[in-house]
């Protein structure tokens, strides 16, 4: 039984992969069977991911070496094979990708009603994205990180180009693909520099060697490449231009999945800066870079969002500004972590880290909910711009309630999960420097303002004749929205329950580099 639990991370990667490839073969027979097959497999994958999360929280790291019983071969102290190393942080992030891909598959049963063309390929790509995301979260090998990063990028590019009514999805997919390819190549350059120096690709092994030989010039170059490429992929400010196109032009379930894919590369950024470099880099400088990056991302994101006309581009810019909160949270944590001596971590540093990490999951949930409601509106009215929508509240009550829940969560109103994580970030950022919290609160107010405007123009307003009796969205789309709305409320009402069980171990696992290295050697 123990040996089976060790194999769970590999199962979480292979199950959606094999099933995704089988979907191409099964799809020819009947749509119903294929839909049920896809959603059940992704549901099982989500259960496996949750099981791994609780397994890791209960008794620490899971390390699984592919093809050998223990991590290093006998009488040899260097890991030779690829090792899947799952700590609380990796398992936490995989939760986001597992949840969104499952709900996206549920939502897509009826979302693509007009052109049923190529749905086999769509579901195959969706499952491969789930497998790539889980692989990215669980692998402990640098080159493997690059391979899974590339899998998620190309499958996401394929899904972005799926909605081929007008020309814009192709241009959005092309821009997204260029950005992903270039950032993945820069990541590979960084891996090359690391491999050239230490002849080791395992993150724990490289961290160990880097501690022995000190932090050389090439390591700084590699760190620069890693941070630049992963921040570019995560949609931080200097390179955020591809996000409005990539989120705005795609079908709603895919925008939801894309949000978690960007969060994966944010996780990659934290993994590299904490587990790979950890204490042998002067974290205060890197911490302040991440904090400033977060502030800029927040502010520019919300500024651009206010002037948007179409629903999905507006939400895309809000997604950028929310990423700023995560960067701010973890950046403040890094600064506090490194300024104090290695032993004692100041309380607010730990708290800031928890706030940032908790916000990652919260953001995935309520941003997904908002994209699904926008998709429901577009599904029913086929209209994207805000001006000629109106008074949908009477026609689509369920979607209206879901939208209100999502909008309140993103604006950080008390009973919802957005507030739970933002309040932690405000408190800890305030201790470091009150200016940070001031900006964060201002951005929250602006977010609330822009969502009130959206709510007013989409759901209230004068009665429009052409949307007479369009009725509610089909049940499968309602189920997906209900799932996310209930999670938003649940996490909002019991934040400390969730923080204690899931987020605190994730923050501790991220900080404690020795534990990560210990898992290997």
């Amino acid at each position: 039984m123990i040996e089976f639990i060790q194999k769970l991370p590999l199962i979480a990667i292979l199950l959606p992969l094999i099933a995704g490839l089988a979907t191409i073969l099964i799809g020819k027979y009947s749509e119903k069977i294929r839909n049920i097959w896809v959603s059940s497999i992704l549901g099982i994958t989500l259960l496996v991911i949750v099981a791994i999360l609780f397994e890791v929280i209960r008794n620490g790291l899971i390390t699984y070496t592919l093809g050998a019983p223990q991590t290093t071969p006998e009488a040899w102290d260097v890991p030779v094979r690829i090792i899947l190393e799952v700590d609380a942080m990796g398992a936490f992030i995989a939760l986001g990708i597992g949840l969104t891909t499952f709900l996206a598959s549920l939502y897509s049963w009826r979302f693509f009603d007009e052109d049923r063309l190529g749905m086999n390929t769509y579901y195959a790509l969706l499952m491969i994205t789930a497998a790539g995301g889980a692989g990215f979260a669980y692998t402990g090998d640098l080159f493997n990180l690059f391979v899974f990063l590339e899998i998620t990028s190309i499958s996401a590019a394929g899904l972005v180009a799926f909605w081929s009514k007008k020309g814009t999805p192709y241009e959005a997919s092309f821009k997204f693909l260029v950005i992903s390819a270039v950032s993945a190549m820069m990541f590979l350059m960084g891996v090359g520099f690391i491999y050239g120096q230490y002849n080791a690709l395992n993150i724990g092994m490289v961290a160990e060697r880097m501690m022995e030989t000190g932090f050389g010039t090439l390591d700084q170059l590699a760190l620069g490449l890693f941070v630049a490429s992963l921040a570019m992929k995560a949609g931080a400010v200097p390179m955020h231009m591809w996000i409005p196109d990539a989120y705005g032009e795609t079908p709603a379930p895919i925008s939801m999945v894309m949000v978690t894919i960007s969060q994966l590369s944010l996780y990659g950024l934290f993994r590299v800066s904490f587990s790979l470099y950890g204490f042998n880099l002067d974290g205060v400088a890197l911490g302040w870079i991440i904090v400033i990056l977060g502030l800029l991302t927040m502010f520019i994101g919300v500024m651009m969002a206010i002037i948007q006309k179409t629903i999905k581009r507006l939400m895309a810019y809000h997604a950028i500004s929310q990423t700023g909160y995560m960067l701010l949270g973890v950046g403040v944590g890094l600064v506090a972590l490194m300024s104090g001596d290695a032993g004692s971590i100041p309380i607010y540093g730990q708290q800031a880290m928890e706030g940032g990490i908790f916000h990652i999951l919260n953001h995935a949930i309520y941003k997904g909910l908002l994209f699904l409601t926008a998709g429901a509106v577009i599904y029913k009215t086929n209209v994207r711009s805000l001006d000629d929508l109106g008074s949908l509240a009477r026609e689509m009550p369920f979607t209206t309630v879901a939208f209100v829940v999502g909008a309140a969560a993103i604006a950080g109103l008390p009973p919802f999960n957005g507030f739970a994580s933002k309040i932690i970030i405000y408190q800890s950022a305030y201790i470091l420097n009150p200016f940070l919290t001031a900006v964060a609160m201002l951005v929250s107010v602006l977010t609330l303002a822009s969502f009130v405007k959206v709510f007013q123009s989409v759901f209230l307003g004068p009665k429009k004749e052409e949307i007479e009796g369009i009725g509610e969205v089909p049940p499968s789309m309602k189920a997906a929205m209900f799932g996310l709305a209930s999670l938003t409320i649940l996490f909002g009402l019991f934040p400390d329950l969730v923080v204690e069980t899931i987020v605190v171990p994730a923050a501790e696992a991220l900080i404690d580099q020795q534990g990560y290295i210990g898992g290997i050697l």
């Binding site: 292979l14 490839l21 089988a22 191409i24 073969l25």
Partner: protein, 149 residues
């Protein structure tokens, strides 16, 4: 595209088989000589592209249909995954060390085809994936333009 002249067609049909055999040779000898699934698949993929250039789209489409190539690719990938991840721990441990494809003389040797435990089938499956992938891309890109559409 329109096919080329009669001469090119006949030469293409003559040369197709040797390229196919050479590609399969590279695939099958992946564990002995430099090469393997990806390189062998690329060679056979180029042979398919040659057929499309020589015979033109309509003629070549009779032989290489999109749906069959897609199912070959998906089927080969599923079998590769099952063989490599699910069955290989059992098969490989049994074969390693036994004369049946599992033991070779240490150091530099001539290279026995019956070695490399399950590498031979794995290389062939990877070659199939790459081969049908190339075929699909060639089929799709061939339908874009061309005057004899």
């Amino acid at each position: 595209m329109k096919g080329l002249s009669r001469i090119v067609e006949s030469i293409a049909s003559l040369v197709f088989i040797p390229i196919l055999v050479f590609g399969l040779y590279i695939m099958v000898h992946g564990h002995l000589t430099p090469g393997g699934g990806f390189q062998g698949g690329a060679i056979v993929g180029s042979a398919i592209a040659m057929i499309f250039v020589a015979y033109g789209t309509i003629e070549a489409n009779k032989h290489f249909k999109l749906t069959s190539l897609l199912s070959i690719m998906a089927g080969a990938a599923v079998v590769y995954l099952l063989l490599k991840e699910v069955f290989s721990p059992y098969i490989k441990d049994v074969m390693i060390g036994t004369p049946f494809m599992g033991r070779i003389p240490e150091g530099i040797n001539i290279g026995h085809i019956a070695s490399g435990t399950i590498f031979l089938p794995l290389n062939v499956l990877v070659g199939l994936i790459v081969l049908s992938g190339f075929g699909i891309v060639v089929v799709l890109f061939n339908q874009l333009g061309g005057n004899d559409q």
